[in-house]
Every structure is written in C-alpha cells, then in structure tokens.
C-alpha cells in the first residue's frame, strides 16, 4: 500500500500518476457532478481517460437510482459511460444479498423504488416500499402482521421513512436470524439543485438504535463495492486509482483496498481535514489521508490532452 502523503498533484506528476494506473474509480456527488450540474471539465476527463485506454467506473453510495438511471443521467451530462460501469448502492446491496448473504427469502425494505427494482432484478422480493402511515394504538403497532418469508431488513435512503416503518423493521429484527443490511452511513444526501437533506445514515441509526444491533453496511468505505467491481472486471488493484471528495468514505475505501487515492476539493472534504488526519498519527485515521489531491478533476485535462 502506497504511503499516504497528501501530495498536491500538478505538473509532470499528473502524467506520471496516470501512466501508473489502468483503472479509475470515480465517486459521483462532489467529484463529477453537483446535483444535476456536471463539474466543469468532468465529462472531458472521463471521456479522455477512456480514449487513452483506461477503464472508468462510477462508485456511489447514493441508493436512489438504479444503474440504468445513473447511466441515463451520465449520458445526459455528456459522459461517455455504460450501465455496467456504474456501481451504486441500490445495485450493490442487491448483489450483496444475493452473493454474500445468499438470501433465501424476502426483504423488508426501507428504501427507494430504485432499490426495489435492483432487488427484483436479482430475484429478491421485497415488502414495504412506499408511504406507510400509522393507525391504531401502540399494541397494534407491536402486533403488525409480519410476512414469514422476510429474512432481512434492508435500509437505504427513503423519503417516506416514518415511525411505522421503523416499527415494522424492529418487529422483524426481534428475530435474531433476520439480517440487517444498510446501503451506507452517509449523514447527508445531496439533492438535485444543490440542497442537501439528512442521509441514509440517520435512518439506519434509528433502526440500529431501536433494534440494539449494528447493520452490515454495503457502501463505502466497506470494501464490498470495490469487490463488486473487481468481480466483474479484472482489476489489478496496484494499478487502480480511487477519486473522491470524502475522506471517510472514498479515500478510506481506496486505502482499505490498496488502491491509489486522489482527493478532489469540489465536494465535502478539505486539505486541512486530510492534514489533520495525517498529523494525528492515529492508525485508524491514516487510511483517510489521500495519496494526492487536486482542486478539481479538470486539472487532469492538460495531461490527458497532451
């Protein structure tokens, strides 16, 4: 694993670094777009990387879109990308349940329609998606009818999250054999138009607290998302670069998987944040120090065009 040095990437170092990798994994929010606006220069970066023979993948903790929806969004913004290059947590959670948990049964889902679609694509039925208003009294809530085929509670971003959904999840989780899987722990979700709302992490925390147990999370920084990409494309991790805007998810994922890491400053984390982790000397925090950083991925353009 490269020693994390938090080096400003510029000049000949850019080309040198790009020549040392075959595959580039990009986070999306705050890296290649903000809401529905592409980061200036980002489409050219992605398209030139591909032209130069690099593999490009998109790895996002956002569970609100299917791979197809992401591919459509990418195309609309001028990115030359295909569905199988996209790895969002809706898709990856479905893959996790199918291939790692080997789930035999249904899912109680607190999540989006996108999650429902990705689950159905791998043959997993769900119950629970959509609004779920409360009625009756307390003892009714404790006695909600449970589908005996449900073997896992899965939590992703859900704008319809409610007490009743939290309650149903708790009742299912009373069975210690019922799995609890979360898409990610991000506390904020960026929306189109630049606003942000509470993220999946808040919903997951409510479920974990009520049920008094920890979820298995699929998204960054857990290595599963890298494993998912690697299982479908042959990757040499020593020749892979992870590009992200968050030290605690993107960069940590990169470190956990032995990839090179590049922080871009068009999103959440700052250089000061990275330096604070570096100076802490704390082993747990050193994984959040990127190898390199740039102001924006557009800074890679001259080296790609030249």
């Amino acid at each position: 694993m490269a020693v994390s040095k938090c080096t400003r990437l510029n000049g000949p170092l850019i080309k040198q670094m790009l020549d040392s990798v075959d595959s580039v994994l990009f986070d999306c929010d705050g890296v290649i777009w903000r809401g529905d606006q592409a980061i200036p220069g980002a489409p050219d970066v992605i398209n030139l990387l591909k032209k130069n023979g690099k593999n490009v993948f998109f790895v996002t903790n956002n569970s609100t879109k299917t791979r197809k929806m992401y591919a459509d969004k990418l195309a609309l913004m001028g990115f030359n990308a295909t569905e199988d290059e996209v790895f969002g947590t809706a898709y990856c959670s479905a893959m996790y349940l199918k291939n790692v948990s080997r789930l035999q049964g249904k899912v109680y889902l607190i999540g989006s329609n996108a999650m429902r679609q990705e689950l159905e694509k791998v043959g997993i039925q769900q119950t629970g998606v959509g609004p779920d208003p409360i009625s009756g009294v307390q003892i009714d809530w404790a006695n909600v009818p449970l589908d005996p085929e449900v073997k896992a509670v899965v939590v992703g971003f859900d704008e319809h999250f409610s007490y009743m959904k939290l309650n149903r999840a708790l009742q299912y989780l009373n069975n210690p054999d019922c799995l609890l899987v979360g898409t990610n722990t991000d506390t904020r979700l960026p929306l189109e138009g630049g606003k942000a709302v509470p993220g999946t992490g808040c919903i997951l925390k409510a479920v974990e607290t009520a049920a008094q147990r920890q979820a298995q999370t699929v998204g960054k920084p857990n290595h599963f998302m890298y494993d998912c990409v690697a299982s479908q494309f042959s990757l040499d991790r020593t020749r892979c670069l992870m590009v992200g805007d968050r030290l605690d998810t993107d960069i940590l994922l990169g470190s956990n998987c032995g990839l090179k890491t590049l922080l871009t400053l068009t999103g959440v984390s700052t250089v000061a944040d990275a330096e604070a982790h570096q100076e802490s000397g704390c082993p747990k925090r050193l994984g959040m120090v990127p190898d390199y950083y740039v102001e924006s991925i557009a800074e890679l353009l001259p080296a790609l065009q030249g």
């Binding site: 409360i134 307390q138 003892i139 809530w141 404790a142 006695n143 859900d158 704008e159 319809h160 999250f161 409610s162 007490y163 009743m164 939290l166 309650n167 708790l170 009373n174 506390t187 904020r188 929306l191 138009g193 606003k195 709302v197 509470p198 993220g199 992490g201 808040c202 919903i203 925390k205 409510a206 479920v207 974990e208 607290t209 009520a210 008094q212």
Partner: protein
C-alpha cells in the same frame, strides 16, 4: 444498612432487611413500567405498597421516562389499576420534566419545534411553552422544500408515532443554528408494552436527529439527573434519604447512582439478576454504576416486611 456508593452490593433482601432499609429512608421513588405495572396489568400488591409507605410517613414519587401520557392521564391510569392515593404532583414523567426544563432552567425565549406525541405536546402547552407543532395530517411542504419558523429556539425530540422524514429534515435545519437548544425527553431505544412486546422508543428517533445534525441532545430522562432535580426543587428531597426503585439497570439504577441515591432493582420488569451480577463482576469501572445496592423479587415484598415486624 445503606450501601456505600463505591461498592454497590447487589444484595437480595427480604423481610426485616427491607424494613430496616425503608426505615432509614424518607422518600421512595418508583419507576412505573416493570415496577408497579406492566402495560395495563398492575404488579400484584403494588397499590398496597404505596398506601403502606404513605402510612409510614414516607413521601412517594413516580418517575418515568414514558412520555406518551400527560400527568392527568397517568392519574387516571393509577386509579384504573387500583391505586387509591396517588396525586398528580407525585408523578414525574419525562414529558412533564422536559417542559419544566424549558420553562424554568432554559427559560426559553422563543418557540420549541416538537417531534413528539400528544403526551409531550400537552405538557408543553400546560407549562405555557410556545410550540411549533408539525401537523402531519396537513403537511406543509416536501422534503425538498419546507417552511421554517424563525422563532424556533429549541428542538425537543420524544416518542412520536407520526415521526417522518420531513420532521427529521426540519429538526436538522433548526439545529444548524448553534444557539438552538437540542433536548430529548428520554434515551430509551425501545418502549415496553405488555407481554414483552416493544415499539421503537424516543432514543431511536433522537439518534436519527443527532446523526443528521452532528449534535448531541441534552437528555432530560433517566439516567440523567434532571428529573431528580425537578422533584427535589419542588419537594426539598435529600438524596441521602431517598431510595430509587426500578427495573432497568441502564436507566433506573444508573439514574440512582448519578443522583447519589440508594438503588433497588425489582425483578418484575426488564433486567435480570444475572445481568446485575454481570455488571458487578465487570472490570470496567463505569459498569459499577449499573449495579443496584439491593434487589427484590417484587415490590410486593415490602408488604411482608412490615407484616413480619408486626407479627
């Protein structure tokens, strides 16, 4: 026979031992769920115990994290379950104490944004604390766009069966202002009903708001001391002469330890004797405060303690 604060003994006591302990105390504070009742079922003998203690000249208080009823409604429940002499002033719920905190301690100048059931809202109204209440039957706005009240100076989170994403988003927005207070009625992750059933508690909703806002709530309910301070300020209680009786080690017993009270675990509720011994045998010094001084099978054992003397 009072236990030393530094070496809580977890002694199971009966008969004259209970009598001796009670004779040394002026005040007895009872948790409710799992101690004097379980849901709608009274713990056999509990009403007689309360009457007996009052006859012996003790002050008796009921201190509960359960914020789903206003005090007046608790009085009705007490009567319904056979308690004949419980007054509203003796009942301290986390909802009542949260309202008291906002009015008397925080001296709030402004409104409270409430995530809470009617039990919470009614106590705030009774205390005269101005509130902004979410009307989930006629929601204003969506998660993308919602109105905020400029007079909100505090957010209070309690048990709320109508909790939804918009409430979470609004609370998070209000809490971006570091001057805005952040209170939680109680930390209980789940709320016990009869028959061992549970529903999500205030603690799970508070955890969501804490995660969204990156702030920690000030918790009013047990094990925080505020509820004891609330009672003590009204009734002039000496902690050294007070006994806390509860069924949950992590709330009631820890509360007692935090406030300098002797503590008694009753086994008619959540925690077991094994769990208490587990904390006692633990190497972790922080676990010592979860160990009760005394343990009884049921508070009904108090009756026998007095009968023995007389017999």
């Amino acid at each position: 026979m009072a236990g030393l604060v530094s070496s809580r003994g977890c002694h199971k006591i009966r008969g004259s031992q209970i009598r001796e302990l009670l004779d040394s105390k002026l005040n007895v504070l009872f948790d409710c769920d799992g101690v004097i009742w379980n849901g709608e079922t009274v713990v056999a003998g509990a009403p007689e115990v309360v009457t007996l203690l009052k006859q012996q000249g003790k002050k008796v208080f009921f201190i509960t994290n359960n914020c789903t009823r206003p005090r007046a409604s608790y009085v009705t429940k007490f009567i319904r379950l056979g308690f004949t002499d419980v007054a509203e002033e003796e009942i301290f719920s986390s909802a009542y104490c949260s309202a008291a905190y906002l009015r008397d301690v925080a001296k709030l100048q402004g409104k409270v944004y409430v995530i809470g059931c009617q039990g919470v809202v009614k106590e705030l109204r009774e205390a005269g604390v101005p509130i902004v209440e979410e009307d989930t039957d006629a929601p204003t706005g969506t998660i993308y766009d919602y109105p905020l009240d400029p007079d909100v100076k505090a957010v209070l989170v309690g048990y709320d069966e109508k909790f939804d994403f918009i409430k979470l988003a609004k609370a998070c927005c209000y809490l971006q202002n570091t001057e805005c207070l952040f209170l939680a009625t109680d930390p209980d992750p789940w709320h016990p009903l009869r028959g061992g059933r549970i529903t999500p508690g205030s603690g799970s909703l508070t955890a969501a708001v804490e995660t969204a806002s990156s702030r920690k709530a000030t918790v009013i309910g047990k094990p925080s001391c505020f509820m004891f301070e609330c009672i003590a300020s009204q009734f002039n209680l000496d902690p050294g002469q007070s006994l806390m009786v509860g069924d949950r080690l992590e709330t009631d017993i820890l509360f007692g330890a935090n406030c300098g009270l002797d503590t008694m675990l009753t086994l008619t509720g959540v925690s077991t004797l094994e769990e208490a011994h587990g904390y006692k045998d633990s190497d972790d010094p922080e676990r010592k405060d979860f160990v009760p001084d005394y343990v009884v099978e049921t508070i009904a054992d108090f009756i026998e303690a007095y009968e023995e003397e007389e017999g």
